[in-house]
Symmetry: C2
Subunit: 197 residues, 2 copies
Amino acid sequence: MTAPRTRGPRERMVFAAAQLIRRDGVGATGMRDVAARAEAPRGSLQHYFPGGKEQLVNEAVTWAGHYAGKRVARYLAALPEPTPGALFAAMTRQWIDEFEAAGFGTGCPVAAATVDSTASTPSAREATATAFAAWAAPLTEALTTLDVPPARAPALATLMISTLEGAILLARAQESTAPLVTVAAELAPLLDSAATR
Amino acid sequence: MTAPRTRGPRERMVFAAAQLIRRDGVGATGMRDVAARAEAPRGSLQHYFPGGKEQLVNEAVTWAGHYAGKRVARYLAALPEPTPGALFAAMTRQWIDEFEAAGFGTGCPVAAATVDSTASTPSAREATATAFAAWAAPLTEALTTLDVPPARAPALATLMISTLEGAILLARAQESTAPLVTVAAELAPLLDSAATR
DNA sequence: TCAGTATTATGACGGATGTCATAGATCGCA
DNA sequence: TGCGATCTATGACATCCGTCATAATACTGA
């Protein structure tokens, strides 16, 4: 939950930026706040991120995308009954648990960056695109492992990510995990029926 | 696309706020920008919205929710083959057309408000919740009209809104309508199979 | 020890923002 | 015509932000 005190101040600042972005959005996240949250000196900001806020935000978004991608493999390995629907349920479960434990104050940093700064800086948009790609790729691979035809897997990965992101939005808006529970239940049959076994 | 010059300056400002919010996010939308966009005098802001930016944003979000809700009935009436899947296709089609016509610079204002100011002001969160509710209610009703069992309709409405919102995010991130096309195609069989006829 | 680099500290600047105070204009209605 | 309420105009204020300039400090290797 909190930033690991190990690792250099640079990584801590990227992590802290992601945390603040997913809670307050890009615009409301200040550089000074990031440094404070990371327990890093303010002067280090211009040293490690000469590209300014834009660079810091982009790195945070990219980091979040890779983080989400890595979790897919962990979910897959931990599934008692490995099916696409169960994988999606695990992904939603993660958010349900987090919302129940920490409240609905925080969402997905990639979504925040997409909504907040897609129109402004082109590099930010690219960062969100690569972040989603870094999430979708392992997910697609996982689906093929679960006997989803390779031709179908990318589409289902897009469907899963879209639905999950939207359900996160709804959950935060109405401060309820119900949307996550609902979409997990409704999508499971469709996802499982795509597995050719 | 542009604000109708009829209607009072108050409505024009709410409309302009929604437009700017869905493009730049809540934080990056300035009161002065809203007045300029609405071709309304700056002094009218404090007259019509004594609650300040918070009130203006909340009204814009609420307005957007009702607007989305009203469109559902129009989609339903215009369907050549009235099925749940076709209704969802019409909803995605609307966004595809808009992205192709105006580019990927603008998204959903309710999503922007959810991501941007859920954590900060409680009233903003309530506004997003009511906005989504004002969208989901007509959608649920439309689904029952399409022979979806009343017990199932709310869940499918949640699924449709979630998936659409997420697909909008992905589309903006990768500047492609592909996610919208994909989710429409993938979800259609599931939605249609829920209609008991 | 010393030089050179890496890191940190701190203050200032220009710009933008939301809000307020105050005055002016406009319009309906008697 | 004149009054009162509704609307508009405009400037100022305090605040915060990202960025930069500049200097001090810490660390590394010879």
